[in-house]
Amino acid sequence: MSTIQSIAGENEQHPDVALVERVRGGDVSAYDTLVRKYERQVFRIAQHITQNREDAEDVVQDAFLKAYEKLDQFQGNSKFYTWLVRIAVNESLMRLRKRRTGKMVSIDEDVETEEGSVPRDLADWAPDPEQNYTQSELAEILRKTIQGLPQGFRVVFALRDVEGLSTEETAETLGLSVPAVKSRLLRARLQLRERLSRYFKRKAAPAGNGPAIAPLSGS
Protein backbone atom coordinates (compact mmCIF):
# COMPACT_ATOMS: atom_id res chain seq x y z
CA MET A 1 0.00 0.00 0.00
CA SER A 2 2.71 2.44 1.00
CA THR A 3 4.62 1.54 -2.19
CA ILE A 4 1.61 2.33 -4.32
CA GLN A 5 1.19 5.64 -2.51
CA SER A 6 4.81 6.60 -2.93
CA ILE A 7 4.75 5.78 -6.65
CA ALA A 8 1.61 7.88 -7.05
CA GLY A 9 3.32 10.69 -5.11
CA GLU A 10 6.41 10.61 -7.33
CA ASN A 11 4.30 10.76 -10.47
CA GLU A 12 2.13 13.54 -9.17
CA GLN A 13 2.87 16.64 -11.21
CA HIS A 14 1.98 20.16 -10.20
CA PRO A 15 -0.43 21.58 -12.81
CA ASP A 16 1.97 24.53 -13.31
CA VAL A 17 4.68 22.18 -14.56
CA ALA A 18 2.42 20.94 -17.36
CA LEU A 19 1.62 24.56 -18.28
CA VAL A 20 5.32 25.46 -18.32
CA GLU A 21 6.02 22.51 -20.60
CA ARG A 22 3.28 23.66 -22.98
CA VAL A 23 4.76 27.17 -23.07
CA ARG A 24 8.19 25.74 -23.81
CA GLY A 25 6.57 23.83 -26.67
CA GLY A 26 5.36 27.13 -28.14
CA ASP A 27 1.84 27.34 -26.70
CA VAL A 28 1.60 30.97 -25.55
CA SER A 29 -1.98 30.49 -24.34
CA ALA A 30 -0.63 28.27 -21.55
CA TYR A 31 1.39 31.26 -20.34
CA ASP A 32 -1.78 33.31 -20.38
CA THR A 33 -3.18 30.85 -17.83
CA LEU A 34 -0.10 31.18 -15.61
CA VAL A 35 -0.21 34.99 -15.75
CA ARG A 36 -3.91 35.01 -14.82
CA LYS A 37 -3.25 32.66 -11.96
CA TYR A 38 -0.48 34.69 -10.32
CA GLU A 39 -0.77 38.32 -11.44
CA ARG A 40 -2.61 39.43 -8.30
CA GLN A 41 -0.06 37.82 -5.99
CA VAL A 42 2.86 39.36 -7.88
CA PHE A 43 1.16 42.77 -7.73
CA ARG A 44 0.67 42.45 -3.95
CA ILE A 45 4.28 41.44 -3.36
CA ALA A 46 5.54 44.30 -5.53
CA GLN A 47 3.32 46.73 -3.61
CA HIS A 48 4.64 45.44 -0.29
CA ILE A 49 8.23 46.02 -1.38
CA THR A 50 8.02 49.18 -3.49
CA GLN A 51 5.08 50.76 -1.64
CA ASN A 52 4.29 52.52 -4.87
CA ARG A 53 1.44 51.66 -7.19
CA GLU A 54 3.11 52.65 -10.47
CA ASP A 55 6.27 50.75 -9.58
CA ALA A 56 4.17 47.72 -8.68
CA GLU A 57 2.44 47.85 -12.07
CA ASP A 58 5.82 47.96 -13.81
CA VAL A 59 7.11 45.10 -11.67
CA VAL A 60 4.15 42.90 -12.65
CA GLN A 61 4.93 43.40 -16.33
CA ASP A 62 8.70 43.08 -15.97
CA ALA A 63 8.52 39.99 -13.74
CA PHE A 64 6.21 38.06 -16.07
CA LEU A 65 8.21 39.05 -19.14
CA LYS A 66 11.47 38.06 -17.48
CA ALA A 67 9.96 34.75 -16.36
CA TYR A 68 8.80 34.12 -19.93
CA GLU A 69 12.23 34.85 -21.34
CA LYS A 70 13.97 32.68 -18.76
CA LEU A 71 11.48 29.84 -18.74
CA ASP A 72 14.01 27.32 -19.99
CA GLN A 73 16.07 28.05 -16.85
CA PHE A 74 13.19 26.95 -14.65
CA GLN A 75 14.32 23.61 -13.24
CA GLY A 76 11.03 22.18 -12.09
CA ASN A 77 12.54 21.11 -8.76
CA SER A 78 11.06 24.20 -7.14
CA LYS A 79 7.51 25.41 -7.63
CA PHE A 80 6.89 27.73 -10.57
CA TYR A 81 5.22 30.12 -8.13
CA THR A 82 8.24 30.44 -5.81
CA TRP A 83 10.52 30.81 -8.84
CA LEU A 84 8.27 33.60 -10.12
CA VAL A 85 8.16 35.26 -6.68
CA ARG A 86 11.96 35.32 -6.58
CA ILE A 87 11.98 37.16 -9.91
CA ALA A 88 9.29 39.57 -8.66
CA VAL A 89 11.24 40.31 -5.44
CA ASN A 90 14.39 41.07 -7.45
CA GLU A 91 12.50 43.26 -9.91
CA SER A 92 10.89 45.13 -7.01
CA LEU A 93 14.26 45.78 -5.34
CA MET A 94 15.68 46.98 -8.67
CA ARG A 95 12.73 49.33 -9.06
CA LEU A 96 13.35 50.73 -5.58
CA ARG A 97 16.99 51.25 -6.43
CA LYS A 98 16.07 53.20 -9.56
CA ARG A 99 13.77 55.39 -7.52
CA ARG A 100 16.59 56.08 -5.09
CA THR A 101 18.91 56.99 -7.94
CA GLY A 102 21.14 53.98 -7.85
CA LYS A 103 21.56 53.63 -4.10
CA MET A 104 21.88 49.95 -3.15
CA VAL A 105 18.71 48.46 -1.79
CA SER A 106 18.57 45.14 -0.02
CA ILE A 107 16.17 43.21 2.09
CA ASP A 108 18.55 43.67 5.03
CA GLU A 109 17.74 47.33 5.13
CA ASP A 110 16.74 48.73 8.51
CA VAL A 111 16.91 45.34 10.17
CA GLU A 112 18.21 45.68 13.68
CA THR A 113 20.08 42.77 15.13
CA GLU A 114 18.91 42.65 18.71
CA GLU A 115 16.46 39.96 19.71
CA GLY A 116 12.74 40.58 20.12
CA SER A 117 11.56 41.39 23.59
CA VAL A 118 8.40 40.75 25.52
CA PRO A 119 5.67 43.04 24.16
CA ARG A 120 4.87 46.10 26.22
CA ASP A 121 1.24 46.59 25.33
CA LEU A 122 -0.86 44.32 27.50
CA ALA A 123 -4.27 45.46 26.29
CA ASP A 124 -6.53 42.76 24.95
CA TRP A 125 -8.44 43.41 21.75
CA ALA A 126 -12.14 43.81 21.31
CA PRO A 127 -13.88 40.73 19.91
CA ASP A 128 -13.87 40.96 16.09
CA PRO A 129 -12.15 44.36 16.26
CA GLU A 130 -12.16 44.80 12.48
CA GLN A 131 -15.93 45.19 12.57
CA ASN A 132 -15.54 48.62 14.16
CA TYR A 133 -14.22 49.91 10.84
CA THR A 134 -15.48 50.04 7.27
CA GLN A 135 -13.64 47.91 4.71
CA SER A 136 -11.80 50.94 3.32
CA GLU A 137 -10.88 52.25 6.80
CA LEU A 138 -9.58 48.82 7.74
CA ALA A 139 -7.56 48.47 4.54
CA GLU A 140 -6.01 51.88 5.23
CA ILE A 141 -5.12 50.89 8.81
CA LEU A 142 -3.57 47.62 7.64
CA ARG A 143 -1.60 49.35 4.87
CA LYS A 144 -0.34 52.12 7.13
CA THR A 145 0.64 49.64 9.82
CA ILE A 146 2.60 47.27 7.60
CA GLN A 147 4.27 50.14 5.75
CA GLY A 148 5.77 51.22 9.08
CA LEU A 149 7.74 47.98 9.39
CA PRO A 150 11.38 47.84 8.30
CA GLN A 151 11.67 46.51 4.75
CA GLY A 152 13.38 43.28 5.81
CA PHE A 153 10.54 42.39 8.19
CA ARG A 154 7.77 43.51 5.87
CA VAL A 155 8.89 41.30 2.99
CA VAL A 156 9.23 38.23 5.21
CA PHE A 157 5.76 38.76 6.71
CA ALA A 158 4.22 39.38 3.28
CA LEU A 159 5.68 36.23 1.73
CA ARG A 160 5.26 33.94 4.70
CA ASP A 161 1.98 35.05 6.25
CA VAL A 162 0.10 36.86 3.48
CA GLU A 163 1.16 34.83 0.44
CA GLY A 164 1.48 31.56 2.33
CA LEU A 165 5.00 30.50 1.35
CA SER A 166 6.67 28.09 3.76
CA THR A 167 9.57 29.27 5.92
CA GLU A 168 11.97 27.34 3.66
CA GLU A 169 10.48 28.81 0.47
CA THR A 170 10.64 32.32 1.95
CA ALA A 171 14.30 31.77 2.85
CA GLU A 172 15.11 30.46 -0.63
CA THR A 173 13.23 33.27 -2.34
CA LEU A 174 14.97 36.00 -0.35
CA GLY A 175 18.39 34.37 -0.15
CA LEU A 176 18.21 34.26 3.66
CA SER A 177 18.86 31.46 6.10
CA VAL A 178 15.90 29.70 7.72
CA PRO A 179 16.84 31.04 11.21
CA ALA A 180 17.01 34.59 9.77
CA VAL A 181 13.52 34.20 8.29
CA LYS A 182 12.17 32.84 11.57
CA SER A 183 13.71 35.66 13.59
CA ARG A 184 12.36 38.35 11.23
CA LEU A 185 8.94 36.75 11.09
CA LEU A 186 8.60 36.74 14.87
CA ARG A 187 9.61 40.37 15.13
CA ALA A 188 7.37 41.38 12.22
CA ARG A 189 4.37 39.67 13.78
CA LEU A 190 5.02 41.20 17.21
CA GLN A 191 5.55 44.69 15.81
CA LEU A 192 2.40 44.53 13.70
CA ARG A 193 0.43 43.25 16.68
CA GLU A 194 1.66 46.07 18.85
CA ARG A 195 0.91 48.72 16.23
CA LEU A 196 -2.55 47.34 15.51
CA SER A 197 -3.37 47.37 19.23
CA ARG A 198 -3.79 51.11 18.95
CA TYR A 199 -6.85 50.54 16.76
CA PHE A 200 -8.16 47.24 18.00
CA LYS A 201 -7.79 47.25 21.76
CA ARG A 202 -10.82 46.85 23.93
CA LYS A 203 -12.13 50.21 25.05
CA ALA A 204 -11.83 50.76 28.79
CA ALA A 205 -15.23 50.31 30.42
CA PRO A 206 -16.51 52.93 32.90
CA ALA A 207 -15.58 52.08 36.51
CA GLY A 208 -17.99 49.65 38.14
CA ASN A 209 -19.60 48.82 34.83
CA GLY A 210 -16.95 46.64 33.27
CA PRO A 211 -17.62 43.62 31.14
CA ALA A 212 -18.43 40.47 33.02
CA ILE A 213 -15.59 37.99 33.09
CA ALA A 214 -16.76 34.49 32.34
CA PRO A 215 -15.69 31.98 35.00
CA LEU A 216 -13.09 29.50 33.84
CA SER A 217 -14.49 26.03 33.46
CA GLY A 218 -13.39 23.69 36.19
CA SER A 219 -12.16 26.44 38.48
Binding site: V28, E39, Q61, V118, L122, E130, L190, L192
Partner: protein, 78 residues
Protein backbone atom coordinates in the same frame (compact mmCIF):
# COMPACT_ATOMS: atom_id res chain seq x y z
CA UNK B 1 9.21 29.08 31.67
CA UNK B 2 9.68 32.85 31.58
CA UNK B 3 7.72 35.25 29.37
CA UNK B 4 10.86 35.85 27.28
CA UNK B 5 11.22 32.11 26.67
CA UNK B 6 7.55 31.89 25.79
CA UNK B 7 7.81 34.75 23.28
CA UNK B 8 10.86 33.20 21.65
CA UNK B 9 8.73 30.12 20.91
CA UNK B 10 5.54 32.00 20.05
CA UNK B 11 5.86 31.47 16.30
CA UNK B 12 6.49 27.76 16.72
CA UNK B 13 3.30 27.51 18.74
CA UNK B 14 1.31 29.57 16.20
CA UNK B 15 2.72 27.60 13.27
CA UNK B 16 2.16 24.33 15.10
CA UNK B 17 5.78 23.25 14.90
CA UNK B 18 6.40 22.28 18.52
CA UNK B 19 6.67 18.78 19.92
CA UNK B 20 4.22 17.50 22.53
CA UNK B 21 6.50 18.21 25.46
CA UNK B 22 7.22 21.76 24.40
CA UNK B 23 3.55 22.37 23.74
CA UNK B 24 2.72 21.19 27.26
CA UNK B 25 5.31 23.60 28.71
CA UNK B 26 3.96 26.49 26.65
CA UNK B 27 0.37 25.77 27.61
CA UNK B 28 1.36 25.46 31.28
CA UNK B 29 2.91 28.94 31.10
CA UNK B 30 -0.22 30.33 29.39
CA UNK B 31 -2.43 29.05 32.17
CA UNK B 32 -0.79 31.41 34.65
CA UNK B 33 0.19 34.31 32.40
CA UNK B 34 -2.48 36.59 31.09
CA UNK B 35 0.12 38.77 29.38
CA UNK B 36 1.35 35.94 27.16
CA UNK B 37 -2.18 34.69 26.52
CA UNK B 38 -3.16 38.14 25.22
CA UNK B 39 0.02 38.29 23.14
CA UNK B 40 -0.67 34.86 21.61
CA UNK B 41 -4.32 35.58 20.80
CA UNK B 42 -3.74 39.04 19.36
CA UNK B 43 -0.74 37.88 17.32
CA UNK B 44 -2.88 35.10 15.84
CA UNK B 45 -5.56 37.66 15.09
CA UNK B 46 -2.98 39.96 13.45
CA UNK B 47 -1.99 37.21 11.02
CA UNK B 48 -5.60 36.26 10.35
CA UNK B 49 -6.60 39.86 9.59
CA UNK B 50 -3.75 40.34 7.13
CA UNK B 51 -4.54 37.03 5.47
CA UNK B 52 -8.22 37.69 5.06
CA UNK B 53 -8.21 41.32 3.91
CA UNK B 54 -6.97 42.44 0.55
CA UNK B 55 -4.95 45.60 1.13
CA UNK B 56 -3.41 45.88 -2.32
CA UNK B 57 -6.21 44.91 -4.61
CA UNK B 58 -5.66 44.82 -8.33
CA UNK B 59 -8.76 46.46 -9.86
CA UNK B 60 -10.24 44.48 -12.80
CA UNK B 61 -9.56 47.20 -15.41
CA UNK B 62 -5.92 47.55 -14.36
CA UNK B 63 -5.58 43.79 -14.24
CA UNK B 64 -6.88 43.46 -17.80
CA UNK B 65 -4.60 46.24 -19.02
CA UNK B 66 -1.50 44.69 -17.45
CA UNK B 67 -2.49 41.25 -18.63
CA UNK B 68 -3.00 42.42 -22.21
CA UNK B 69 0.35 44.27 -22.19
CA UNK B 70 2.22 41.21 -20.90
CA UNK B 71 0.63 38.82 -23.38
CA UNK B 72 1.11 41.19 -26.32
CA UNK B 73 4.83 41.36 -25.60
CA UNK B 74 5.11 37.61 -25.05
CA UNK B 75 3.44 36.95 -28.40
CA UNK B 76 5.97 39.26 -30.06
CA UNK B 77 8.71 37.25 -28.39
CA UNK B 78 9.25 39.94 -25.66
Amino acid sequence: MTCTEFISLLDDLIDDSVNDRMRADLLAHLKDCEHCEVTLNTTRKTIEIYRSHEIYDLPPDLRERLHAAIMARCKRGC
